[in-house]
């Protein structure tokens, strides 16, 4: 058990190091995130010229929302991830199958390493800009921080499960760019990244909340900005846990199906 956890940690560490190998890309990305934060912030704040609150969001919560979502964008890999699809396409997936641990476990551990790196180097800069330049308010209660970290951990798992699904389409279609672009559009709208789900008309919010997407962004953000508070946090976390388990199980199943029909091209 302990040795098993050690293996996962070692894999995660390499996932982290892989991203750490490209610091210039990270810096450029963080800079872009900040620029887009400025744009999104000014657009969303304009809404509050007319009214005080939209759902549970007021102007202060919205400022925190904007900078936090800019920071989390890469942690939950909202703009896409097609590593596994490429491995299926090139046939390199073959080398993942000759390891004594399940490829999905390797991929999940690697993804947590990636998420940790993105949290530190792509997550903190936009939030810092939000706090320093726009007075975004950070949670004061350490319990809220704890809940936020747990929620973020689950958000990565839900996002990973979903990303795996559209990547696994490569087992059937070989080229997954179309599938991925569709997935990204749906994901960025229904996760509550573009605007908070509370801003949606009720019928659209109902649809969004029936999908796993809010568990990737909206749930941790609501905890962070204080829209979800008290015992509701536990309910939110339980919901995320359910989505995480569901998505991982589903992708595990699809992975098994894909492997069964696997044809490694050439080589």
């Amino acid at each position: 058990m302990l040795a098993s956890l050690r293996t996962d940690l070692e894999i995660a560490r390499r996932g982290y190091l892989r991203y750490a190998a490209y610091p210039a890309a990270t810096a450029a990305g963080a800079f872009t995130n900040i620029i887009f934060g400025l744009m999104r912030g000014s657009v969303l704040l304009a809404l509050f010229a007319e009214r005080e609150r939209i759902g549970a969001y007021d102007a202060a919560a919205t400022i925190a929302y904007v900078w936090l979502t800019q920071g989390l964008l890469n942690v939950v890999a909202l703009w896409g991830w097609q590593e596994l699809a490429l491995r299926v396409r090139t046939g390199d997936i073959a080398t993942d199958l000759i390891r004594p641990i399940h490829p999905m476990r390797t991929a999940l551990a690697t993804d947590y390493g990636r998420a940790a790196y993105q949290l530190i180097f792509r997550g903190i800069p936009p939030v810092a800009v939000g706090v320093l330049a726009f007075h975004a308010v950070l949670p004061a209660d350490p319990l809220v921080w704890l809940a936020f970290v747990a929620s973020l951990g689950l958000a990565v798992a839900v996002s990973f499960g979903f990303r795996l699904l559209y990547n696994l389409a490569a087992f059937w279609t070989t080229d997954t760019r179309g599938t991925m672009i569709l997935a990204l559009v749906v994901m960025s709208v229904f996760s509550g990244f573009v605007i908070p789900i509370q801003f949606f008309p009720p019928w659209l919010a109902a649809i969004a909340n029936a999908t796993p997407f809010p568990a990737m962004v909206q749930t941790p953000v609501d905890i962070f900005v204080g829209v979800t508070r008290g015992p509701a946090i536990l309910v939110a976390l339980a919901g995320q846990l359910g989505w995480a388990a569901g998505m991982l199980l589903k992708s595990y199943w699809v992975f098994a199906l894909g492997t069964r029909r696997l044809v490694v091209q050439g080589g």
């Binding site: 050690r6 070692e10 390891r99 490694v264």
Partner: protein, 318 residues
């Protein structure tokens, strides 16, 4: 119990292609038609065949990556596709054309990671790694990211990665691709010592037949998905390489010699190459017959090279 056993194994691929504007035709390609052989533990077997013969497909079925369409496979007593993960800990696999190392990380990080993935005891890990570092000369690029390695360096890294955990059975698909003469020789020594000292079973595909000749006590030749030869190098040469070549230098350039039971296959100035069946005619008889027709200045006899033998097999589809 054999280390590897195949009984009437076949693998078909379904290929769909356009036939006309809207119609598609479905073709079934038999990559492997009907393959049966077994390999005893501790043997070093060369698995060769022309391009597209079904070598890689076989290796993939043996390692559990591809599901055979028919037949039965057993590797280390396990059924590869059904017990793939369990089998993975006991075998080592290297595909010369695939990157198994972590592309963005220094080479040493891949080794460290494999150590944890395979749960290699640190004693064995240290011992193996230092042996490979020395034998394959890894130190110069051990801390270089894999993406910056040359092909030869990467292949040496891949080979180390496949063998770090002391596998019982090693599958190597083109393990010396892109290596220079020195590195090639080192890889051969490494494989021989692993085989002799640790009893590692090795199944190796290579287009470099010198590898096969130097290393393998047994050769399997596959063509169009069928086994067409199973035996050692000498048997191979004896069976397919009966043709020897006498090279004679005449005093004066002249027309091709006319000799019974032999034929001139090449003429270059005064030098002529005469092919003959070594079982029906001796080199001495042929030399005497040639000397009777034209004065000779020099002569050599070329024994069949494994390259030529195998080329003949591939070309003539024996």
């Amino acid at each position: 119990m054999p280390a590897i056993e195949l009984e009437h194994v076949g693998k078909d691929f379904v290929v769909r292609r356009a036939a006309g504007r809207f119609r598609r035709r479905t073709d079934v390609v038999h990559a492997v038609s009907d393959l049966s052989f077994s390999v005893e533990p501790g043997s070093l077997v060369g698995y060769i065949g022309p391009n597209g013969a079904g070598k890689s497909t076989t290796v993939k079925m043996l390692t559990g990556i591809l599901v055979p369409s028919r037949g039965r496979i057993s590797v280390a007593g396990l059924v590869p596709t059904r017990q793939r993960t369990k089998l993975a800990g006991r075998i080592g696999v290297m595909f010369g054309q695939r990157v198994q190392l972590w592309w963005d990380l220094p080479l040493i990080e891949s080794f460290e990671l494999l150590r944890h993935i395979y749960r290699i005891p640190s004693q064995i890990y240290e011992r193996n790694l230092s042996a490979f570092r020395q034998l394959l000369d890894l130190d110069k690029f051990l801390w270089t990211p894999v993406r910056q390695l040359s092909l030869g360096q990467r292949i040496r890294g891949e080979l180390t990665a496949a063998m770090l955990h002391d596998p019982e059975i090693l599958f190597l698909d083109e393990p010396t691709i892109g290596l220079d003469v020195v590195a090639r020789q080192r890889v051969r020594e490494l494989l021989l010592s692993a085989n002799r000292e640790r009893g590692m079973t090795v199944l190796l595909t290579s287009h470099d037949l010198t590898d096969i000749e130097r290393l393998c006590s047994r050769i399997l030749i596959i063509d169009r998905g069928r086994l067409i030869f199973d035996g050692d190098v000498d048997t191979l040469k004896a069976r397919y390489g009966k043709e020897r070549v006498l090279v004679v230098d005449l005093e004066e350039p002249g027309p091709a010699l006319q000799l019974d039971g032999a034929r001139v296959i090449r003429v270059e100035g005064p030098r002529q190459w005469i092919a003959f069946d070594g079982e029906r005619l001796s080199a001495a008889q042929l030399t005497a017959a040639a000397a009777a027709q034209a004065p000779l200045r020099d002569l050599t006899v070329q024994e069949p090279e494994i390259e030529d033998v195998v080329r003949r097999i591939y070309q003539e589809r024996l």
